[in-house]
Symmetry: C2
C-alpha cells in the first residue's frame, strides 16, 4: 500500500508543475460554497494582504463587499440567500483584481476573465448540466466567400442526431453581441444546457443550433484564430455595417449542405443579443423567405449604425418590413430590460410596428443590458419554435 | 460621430460589469510580450504590493523570478530568449498565487489554473493555430453500458470530413493521464492543432481522433458533468483497475457506428500518456485484433496497479504479449523522458520485449513526466500511422 501511495504521489507529477504545486500547497479552500441556508461563502488565502474584497452581482447596494481575515484566509458570506443565477465574480487583493483560484470555473467575457458562481434553482436549473441526454457541441470551420477566409462557428446537434440518421431537424441561428464571438452563447449564455434541458423536458423541439461569429473581420474567437493570441478589443472593423448580414446566406447554405436540416423557412429561426439582435433584424428583413421565427434580444437598433452602413442592407426599412410581414412569419419576438440603454430605441421600433399593425411578441424584464436577461430570453424564445 | 462613440461606449455595457470595468480601468498592460530578441516580458499592475514573482519553466535555475516595480507595474523580462514551447505560468503577489489577467489564455490542469504563454517556432509551430484547413472538434456523449450512464468524449474529424461524404477515415484513440479528462489533450496537449498542421503539411493522413475520458466513474470533465461543479481530485475511484479497459470496445463500437470510419484493425491506432499509456498497453493486449498501432507515452506501467486490479485484464501478460505480436501489429511505439520517475519501469518493459525479440520503436527525450514531452510524442507518433 505504501508503494501505491508513493506511486499516486508520483503520478501527480503527470500534471504540470503548477498543478503539482497546488496539490502539495496548503489545504485547498472551498470557494464558493453554497450554504444550506442559500447564502454563499467566498474564501481566499492572502496572509499578508491588508484589504480584500469580492465583486459580483450578489453583492447588494455596492460594487464590492469587504472580506474578513482569519488565520490568513479572507472570507465573505452573503447576508442573504443568493438568488438562483449565474454570477461572474472577482476578488480584489490590495487593489489587484484576481480570480478565485479555488474555483476552476473561469469565464472569458471579451478580454476580461472572471470566476463563476452558479446558484441552481428555478430558471437557473436550465443553466445547469442535468442528468439528461446531451447534444453534441462542435467547433466547425466554414469557407466564407464574403470574408475571404475560413471562419469558425459552434454547432449544437440535439441528442440522438447521430443515431437517428433518417431524421431531419429545424435550425436556430443564435448571434452574439459586440465584443463576443462564437463561444459567447455557449459559455456565458449556457445555451447548450438550456437546449438540452428544454428538449429533455419536452418543452422544445429537438433542433440544430448554430452560433456564428458576427465579427466578419475575424476568423474565430480570440485564442482560436491564426492571427495570434491577442484578445480583440471592442473596436473590431466591420461589425455593424452590413457585411456580416450580407454574408449570412452563405452560413445557412453551409449548414443546409452539411447537416440534416429541414431546409425551408418553416424550419428556420434566428435570434441574437445586442449587436446580434441588430444583425437578426436586418438579416431577417433582407431575407424575408429565410426565417419563420426571429428574436431580438436587447437589440442594438437605432444607434446610427444603420445610417453609416451599407444602404442596401439598412435602407428601405418600411418597404422591407411590409414585405416581411406580408409573408406571414410565425413569430417576431422582442425582449428588453427596463433599465437597458437601448430601451427607448426598442420602444420606438415597437411603436413603428404597432403603427403598421404588425404582430410581434414582447417581453420586458428588469435589469439592463446583461447576460442574465439574454439567458432568460433564449429560454423563453426556444420553446416557441417549430411548433 | 460623437453619438456613435457614445453608442460604442454604451454597447460596452452589453458585456458584464466585470468586462466593462476592465475597459474603463487603467490602460491594459501587454503581458506576456514576446520581444523581437526572443526574450519575454511579463507585467502585472500591483501598486501596493511588496513582492511579486513569476513562476514558469522559462525561469531558469529557480522556481520563480522576482519582478521589478515601476509606477505600480511589476515587470520581468527573461534574461535570454525563451525557447519555442507552451508554458503555463502564474504570478505570486505578496504570496498569493494569481493568474495574468492581461492574458485571456487560461489553462486548467486538474484543479489548477494557470496562464499560458506559447512561444512559436520550431516544433512549437505545430502547437499554434495556422492558416490551414481546420478539423471539427466535437464534444459528444455516448451511452456507456459498463459505466451505467452517458459519458463525454472529444472527437476530432479532419478538415473535409463533412464535405467528403463518401470517404471513410482511420481512427486514432488518444488517452489522458491520471487527473485528466477528455479535454486535457485538446487544451494542454494542443492535439487538434498538431493534427491540423501535420495533415495540412501532408505529414499525417487525415484521420478521426477520439479523446476519451479514462475516469470511468466520471460522466465528463469537471464543470461538464451533472454531478456538480467541484473539480475532481486525483483520487477518483476505478482509474487503473481494469474497468476502463474493459469498457473500451464499447467506445470503438460507438465511434464505428456514428462516424465514417474504416472499421478494421489496419485503420485503428491508440496512444496515451501516463495512466493513458498504461490503459493503451492493456487495451491493446486484451484486444489484439483491434489496433494496428499503439503508442505508450511515459506509460504508468509497473506501479503495482496491475497486481491490485482485474486479473482478467492484467494477468497472463507473457501470453498476451506473444499473441499480440503473433498478429504482426504495424507499430508499438514507446516514448519516455530520461528524467521520468517511470523511466525504470519502461526500461524494464523494453527489456522484456527485447528478451522476446518483439519489435517496437523507442524515443527517449530529456525532461520528465511533463506535457512538453507528450506533445512531442504525439507529433512523432501521428505521422507513422496508416501509411
Amino acid at each position: 500500500m505504501r508503494k501505491f501511495l508513493t506511486i499516486v504521489a508520483a503520478l501527480a507529477l503527470c500534471i504540470s508543475a503548477t498543478a503539482q504545486q497546488a496539490i502539495f500547497m496548503a489545504a485547498p479552500l472551498k470557494s464558493p460554497e453554497i450554504n444550506p441556508d442559500g447564502t454563499v461563502t467566498f474564501r481566499v488565502r492572502a496572509p499578508k494582504a491588508v484589504s480584500v474584497t469580492v465583486s459580483g452581482e450578489f453583492v447588494k447596494g455596492a460594487s464590492s463587499a469587504a472580506m474578513v481575515e482569519k488565520n490568513g484566509v479572507w472570507e465573505y458570506t452573503t447576508p442573504e440567500a443568493v438568488a438562483p443565477e449565474m454570477y461572474p465574480y472577482t476578488f480584489s487583493i490590495d487593489g489587484v483584481q484576481t480570480l478565485d483560484l479555488s474555483n476552476a470555473w473561469v469565464n472569458r467575457d471579451v478580454a476580461s476573465l472572471s470566476s463563476v458562481l452558479l446558484v441552481p434553482g428555478g430558471r437557473a436549473d436550465l443553466y445547469t448540466i442535468q442528468d439528461v441526454p446531451h447534444g453534441t457541441v462542435s467547433k466547425v470551420w466554414y469557407d466564407s466567400a464574403v470574408a475571404g477566409f475560413d471562419r469558425r462557428m459552434t454547432v449544437y446537434t440535439p441528442a440522438g442526431y447521430e443515431q437517428n440518421t433518417k431524421t431531419r431537424y429545424p435550425v436556430l441561428y443564435v448571434l452574439h453581441g459586440i465584443g463576443g464571438d462564437e463561444d459567447a452563447w455557449v459559455t456565458q449564455g449556457r445555451a447548450c444546457q438550456i437546449l438540452d434541458n428544454l428538449i429533455a423536458k419536452g418543452e422544445a423541439k429537438p433542433m440544430i443550433v448554430v452560433f456564428t461569429n458576427g465579427n466578419i473581420s475575424e476568423e474565430a474567437a480570440p485564442l482560436e484564430n491564426s492571427t495570434g493570441y491577442t484578445v480583440a478589443s471592442m473596436g473590431l472593423p466591420k461589425t455593424m455595417e452590413g457585411t456580416f448580414e450580407t454574408s449570412f446566406p452563405e452560413v445557412v447554405k453551409f449548414i443546409d449542405a452539411n447537416y440534416r436540416t429541414i431546409a425551408k423557412k418553416q424550419s428556420r429561426a434566428i435570434c441574437g443579443l445586442s449587436m446580434g439582435g441588430f444583425h437578426t433584424l436586418y438579416i431577417t428583413l433582407n431575407n424575408p423567405d429565410m426565417f419563420n421565427y426571429s428574436g431580438m434580444f436587447s437589440a442594438a437598433i437605432g444607434t446610427g449604425s444603420e445610417q453609416r452602413g451599407n444602404a442596401a442592407i439598412y435602407g428601405d426599412m418600411d418597404k422591407k418590413i411590409a414585405t416581411y410581414f406580408s409573408k406571414k412569419p410565425a413569430l417576431l419576438w422582442i425582449g428588453i430590460g427596463d433599465a437597458d440603454f437601448l430601451y427607448k430605441a426598442n420602444t420606438d421600433f415597437r411603436a413603428k410596428l404597432d403603427a403598421g399593425k404588425y404582430p410581434y411578441e414582447y417581453m420586458e424584464t428588469g435589469d439592463g443590458h446583461v447576460w442574465k436577461n439574454w439567458r432568460i430570453y433564449l429560454s423563453e424564445f426556444v420553446p416557441k419554435l417549430f411548433k
